[in-house]
């Protein structure tokens, strides 16, 4: 009997339900085709381009904080990338490809809309198999669980997936079938010590968390994840603390240090924290997981149960008193413009000017190149950023700007930090 005939019979067989399988297959294929060009071969790991002008996300354990790294995109096109902002504990780095123009990129999706069981694709370079052919690997699976909490590095709100992730996948995107990035893959549970091969358990940092850090990442330098300073929390249902609710209810406030952001937020001993920014807080891990979703310097809404009443509080994350003065300085991004990535150490070229921002009010225009700051030459954004960060809000900076071949002086006042308002 000729099996070829038997099989083509099998393929042609009318089966309405099977059409749905073929539709899913077509969707996966189309998704692979769509996302492939935006992949970045980043050292011994992966990255994904998220804007046409070259912003790239990866893991901190892939990129470190080194500038001038050689990267490639799908097909082998070569670029140089700088690491702009990074969270070493949360294992995310935002990088910028130099001289980027019209790069293929993927949008960030909303990880809060991801559901357990949903299909996802992991794009990466496991075992560096794509080096040379510069074709990334796609693996297909589902979301196995949400809000996984782990420390060191801190994957405190991770998406768990069975799409196979292996060494080399780190920093690559986890993608929903509409082609959007909902996470950055970076961690796996392994079978045995020293045998780093996927076991069906991979973890991705969710896109929502990354988006909340994005402003600080773009500002540059190290970004630290948030915590509520000055309160001690306990697990409800813990035998050591009697009558403080049942496990799963929330976490309760077991102690408050005076003169800390936690005390100023108005927490009281015995409060049960059950919601932060709309997220239910079941237990201590989830509490840390949710709070770490914002960087230090942000303020979050906290709901507590106090006796029978529900009370709304605002908690500042981190503690300025414990931060070095340099980290409290003015934010260059608050000036209301963003720099182009095409700097060749000839100054800071302005790529975008925010509407109504300080830069616009001061009269800065797209295409201007900032040559000097207070009379001192600034070669690039890194130098500019560090100088501005060492200044206070309310100070006036004197910029020397090259426009149409002529240098003009433009004073600009540093506005209040948006994130601290």
């Amino acid at each position: 009997m000729n099996i070829a005939i038997a099989l083509s019979f099998l393929a042609l067989q009318g089966d309405d339900e099977f059409q749905k399988v073929l539709e899913l297959e077509a969707k996966v294929r189309a998704c692979c085709e769509k996302v492939r060009p935006a992949y970045v071969f980043f050292g011994n790991g992966s990255g994904v381009c998220i804007s046409a002008d070259g912003w790239v996300l990866t893991n901190f354990h892939v990129s470190g904080d080194k500038n001038g790294q050689a990267v490639r995109m799908t097909g082998g096109a070569r670029f140089t990338a700088d690491v702009v902002g990074y969270d070493p504990h949360g294992d995310i780095a935002l990088c910028r490809i130099k001289n980027a123009k019209d790069l293929p990129f993927l949008e960030l999706g909303d990880s809060d809309l991801v559901r357990v069981g949903q299909h996802v694709i992991a794009m990466g370079n496991p075992f560096l198999l794509g080096n040379g052919s510069w074709e990334p690997t796609m693996t297909f699976g589902i979301v196995s669980a949400l809000h996984r909490y782990m420390d060191n590095p801190g994957y405190f709100d991770a998406i768990q997936t069975d799409a196979q992730i292996n060494p080399g996948n780190s920093g690559g995107p986890l993608i929903t079938l509409d082609g959007k990035v909902v996470g950055i893959n970076g961690r796996i549970d392994i079978k045995r010590f020293m045998n780093r091969v996927n076991t069906g358990i991979g973890y991705a940092i969710p896109s929502r968390q990354i988006q909340r850090y994005m402003r600080k990442f773009k500002e540059g330098g190290e970004v630290k994840e948030g915590y509520i300073d000055g309160i001690r929390i306990g697990e409800c249902g813990d035998a050591r603390y009697e009558k403080v609710g049942e496990y799963g209810d929330g976490v309760f406030v077991a102690g408050i240090t005076p003169d800390t952001p936690g005390a100023k937020a108005g927490f009281a001993n015995g409060d049960i924290i059950f919601e932060i920014e709309g997220y239910r807080i079941h237990n201590a891990n989830r509490f840390h997981g949710v709070v770490s979703n914002w960087p230090q310097g942000e303020t979050v809404k906290v709901r507590v149960r106090r006796g029978v009443a529900e009370v709304d509080l605002s908690a500042f994350l981190g503690n300025p008193a414990k931060v070095k003065p340099k980290e409290l300085g003015a934010s260059p991004l608050d000036l209301g413009f963003s720099p182009s990535a095409d700097f060749d150490d000839l100054g800071v070229e302005i790529e975008k000017v925010e509407k109504g921002g300080a830069a616009e009010k001061a009269g800065l225009k797209v295409g201007d190149v900032i040559k000097k700051l207070d009379g001192r030459r600034v070669k690039n954004w890194d130098e500019f950023r560090d100088t501005v960060k060492s200044r206070k809000t309310g100070d006036t900076l004197k910029l020397t700007v090259l426009r149409d071949g002529e240098e003009t002086e433009i004073p600009i006042k540093i506005p209040a930090r948006k994130s601290d308002e």
């Binding site: 099977f18 297959e25 085709e33 492939r36 074709e135 693996t139 020293m194 045998n195």
Partner: protein, 340 residues
């Protein structure tokens, strides 16, 4: 990917039976395709391939040793030609040491005709005719993301297995193989990777103790049908195609020199061709036989076109005070040393 059935069940309404339709298709595929998939048992005198040697991995010999039990193969031509992964039949074979069990349960002693180490495929011959052969997939119609299934016949010779996955990459192993996330292990390696309509994409290969990806890690390969066809006459001719040693220069790449474009050398391996020619740490290699070098990848690209024993000329810059001197090295490429 093993969870696809489960996932489909979740995505579609209970009344919607796409998941059942996929299950039915996989059952049919398993039934039809497995007619062309055989079980292979091998008796060996020695087995140098059956042990991992990569650094700390060697500490886990029990895990990395070749496990007992049958492996899989694919009937490639009706007159008893069977393809499998070379790893499945490598090692020092005993006389009549390869036995093939067909779908009907009949056991045949197989002759090893030829093999190709680099592609990790081997051709066996048994004394049978009129065997069922799978239709071949048209590679140009395949793409990343398409569903594929891997059919093997292990650990139980009577019971074929089927694993579902996607095509993860189209060109791996120097374009000889496709990559799939269908779980692949020592049992179903050598089996048939097919499309959902049962067409043969390739023969599962490159799962062996010396590869870092291990078993069932979601990284598996299948030697493309076209690649098999290209070497089939040589295999039938009992050729043993041994993997050519890659040409070897003997340097490790540095992080690059901001002052000079080229490949900065961070280390010269002792007694290598580079060492013998006088290359030094921090030399910046700029040209190889007239081709520009920019980084390690560009060196690999140029070396890929060379053979062991070729004589080459490398131009380089070497720092001397504030200036760079031009250097030229003439050397003969050696074969890459064996991995420790």
């Amino acid at each position: 990917m093993t969870s696809l059935l489960l996932a489909l069940g979740m995505l579609f309404d209970p009344g919607d039976d796409a998941s059942a339709a996929l299950a039915r298709r996989l059952q049919k595929l398993r039934a039809e395709v497995s007619r062309s998939v055989v079980a292979i048992e091998v008796e060996r005198e020695t087995d140098p391939d059956g042990r991992g040697t990569r650094g700390p991995v060697a500490a886990h010999e029990d895990y990395y040793n070749r496990p007992k039990g049958p492996t899989s193969g694919v009937i490639y031509e009706a007159d008893g030609f069977i393809l499998t992964s070379y790893f499945n039949i490598s090692g020092g074979l005993k006389k009549d040491g390869i036995r093939v069990t067909l779908a009907d349960g009949k056991e045949h002693v197989a002759e090893l005709l030829g093999f190709d180490e680099a592609r990790d495929i081997a051709l066996l011959k048994i004394g049978a005719t009129g065997l069922p052969v799978l239709p071949k997939a048209d590679f140009s119609k395949l793409a990343q993301g398409l569903f594929v299934a891997l059919v093997g016949r292990s650990p139980d010779k009577e019971i074929p297995t089927i694993n579902l996955g996607i095509l993860s990459a189209m060109n791996r192993m120097e374009r000889a193989a496709v990559q799939t996330d269908a779980e692949m292990n020592y049992g179903n390696a050598g089996g048939a990777l097919v499309t959902l309509s049962g067409e043969l994409v390739g023969v599962a290969c490159n799962i062996k103790p010396k590869t870092p990806w291990g078993q069932s890690g979601g990284v598996g390969f299948a030697c493309k049908v076209a690649e098999i066809d290209a070497v089939l006459p040589r295999l039938k001719n009992k050729e043993h195609i041994v993997a050519a040693k890659k040409p070897f220069l003997g340097i490790r790449p540095g992080e690059g020199n901001p002052e000079v474009e080229g490949l900065q050398v961070s280390e010269v391996i002792k007694d290598s061709p580079a060492d013998k020619a006088g290359m030094k740490k921090d030399d910046v290699l700029t040209e190889l036989d007239g081709k520009k070098l920019t980084d390690f990848e560009s060196l690999k690209d140029v070396l890929a076109e060379k053979k062991v024993g070729d004589e080459i000329v490398i131009k380089a810059k070497r720092k001397a005070g504030k200036k760079y001197d031009d250097k030229e090295f003439k050397l003969k490429l050696a074969g890459a040393p064996d991995q420790p």
